[in-house]
Assembly symmetry: C2
Homo-oligomer: 325 residues x 2
């Protein structure tokens, strides 16, 4: 029997990425639409189902050749029941049975998985993690997500909540920066895109000169990620300070993960890496080297994700296809 | 064929624990001798071999009924080659082939394993971890060690260096307390026995009253762990401050581990727990609850190790016996 196709979908807070995927032929069709999750679950699910049908039609492959749909979504999820639970990234969503609804709409089994774990699985099978057995991916975007693969298996844990690397803590001080969730000093509070912008804005408030000051026209509150990336290239000290903060926090998290788990690869992806990845990686490596056991550090290659923003949808499709025949 | 016996030995920085062990009959004989590792590897190994022979004789079980020796030792180790590598806890030891030397001396295969991982395995099989699949043990003593069990298997990693939970980082500030190894802000720098003593001494320097001040007769430098434990029971604020620091750091580490790995049990052992375990656990739970994802936190039971200081030697013997027939 011919190997089947799968539809992969990544439901982000702002964008939905959908693709038609085959293990041999790769990605046949890819689309991106705004997710508009604030419309509420019912309207969003209708749009997701329509998009799956559209991508299937664009692929010109009959439904019968499709085995399943893989859906990556922000956690926390109930994977067994196929529910999106209450989550800060999808406001107003609570115990939404996405898997069942989409299955009914498109007539294929739907596998739900955490979005960052999908991306980690894609990098492991097809990207920067190829050829290793033990790795973690950290995605640095609006939030910080993660996925851990140990002995070649995706770590889910008994409640399917493993891999939340944005809530590893690196600063025990009560005044440390904090994210929407958890205690101060989490990785998400120190190294997400908003954390970088916050750090640069705070730095601007203390010294009103340099490229970033000019780019934001003297209004720190209007400084954004794109300006930061440009300013970083120009050697701006405010952008540099933000990168130093994130790089050090990520480096400590890397050292902690290497010491705890003895990984072969630590891979960083997400929007923050696209804008200033090289600068971040050098900082991460420097701190990780100083904080990790030497032999464990030597084993671990620290690098950038290679599959880009499609990783989540590709991983969802890969997982939906299941083990190779 | 009858189930075999094993000798289990835990080589600590100050004490060697040795025992004769059988899966059905438990611990038959146990001894403790000073390790005197500063005598150097050759003299120490001779003493270890003599102790194994002595315990075998005390067990009144013939050599033929013994299958193997399990040896727990402080990391880093090269498990495949059976070497103790250079380590801060065994000064002057470097690439010492302990497994081969002991095997030659006693005529049994010798399995070398990290001491904290041995203790974790013992707790998993026979102690506080019984009945779960995913757990971590943290041992709080002169140093902080750890062992992680995932899906029922001891996590070693490609270089056998996994589980070094003393070097998970909780304070990114350069002025944070530091241990003998790594960067400032490690768990070992914040929650080991010496870290507690350091914190209490620093607190004494700022306020020269209370039970601990009287116990140490006004000399903070002479305050030790035993005084701290007594003072803690008396509600002393310096001891309380030290426990607050350690409990918060351990709670953040617990939250990080729960978020990253979705564990069913987090178990704390070692000398620090014997002196003030209940007080520490309540602090750990409070911080972990505030920092972890709710559903993952609810799944995880946080508690004390139950096997005491023999855990390492028992785990070493258990591992040496291998999978049950």
């Amino acid at each position: 029997m011919a190997e089947p196709f799968a539809l992969g979908m990544d439901l982000g807070a702002t964008t939905v990425t959908t693709l038609a995927y085959h293990r041999r032929y790769g990605v046949l069709v890819r689309t991106r639409i705004p997710s508009r999750v604030s419309d509420g679950p019912a309207a969003t699910l209708k749009r997701l189902a329509a998009e799956l049908k559209r991508v299937r039609a664009l692929s010109e492959v009959p439904w019968a050749a499709y085995k399943a749909v893989g859906l990556g979504a922000p956690g926390p999820l109930d994977l067994k029941a196929g529910l999106i639970l209450k989550t800060p990234n999808l406001k107003g969503w609570n115990r939404v049975p996405v898997a069942r609804r989409l299955r009914r709409a498109v007539g294929l089994p739907v596998l739900l998985e955490n979005d960052a774990r999908c991306a980690a699985w894609a990098e492991f099978r097809l990207g920067a993690g190829r050829g290793c057995r033990d790795m973690a991916l950290l995605t640095l975007g609006t939030g910080v997500g993660g996925g851990i693969i140990l002995d070649g298996a995706l770590r889910r844990g008994p409640d399917h909540s493993a891999g939340e690397l944005g809530f590893v803590y690196l600063d025990r001080n009560p005044g440390a920066p904090r994210a929407a969730f958890g205690l101060p000093g989490s990785l998400e509070a120190l190294a997400s895109a908003p954390a970088l912008v916050r750090a640069a804005r705070a730095s601007l408030g203390r010294g009103k000169t340099g490229p970033l000051w000019r780019l934001c026209q003297g209004r720190p509150a209007s400084a954004d990620a794109a300006m930061l990336h440009r300013a970083l290239r120009l050697g701006d000290r405010h952008a540099t300070a933000a990168w130093d903060q994130a790089g050090q926090a990520l480096g400590l998290a890397a050292a902690s993960l290497i010491n705890a788990l003895n990984l072969e690869r630590l891979i960083f992806g997400g929007g923050v890496m696209q804008g200033g990845g090289r600068e971040l990686l050098s900082r991460i490596r420097r701190t990780a080297k100083a904080g990790a056991y030497p032999q464990a550090f030597r084993r671990c290659r620290i690098g950038a994700a290679t599959l880009g923003p499609e990783a989540g949808a590709i991983g969802a499709a890969e997982l939906a296809l299941g083990d190779p025949a």
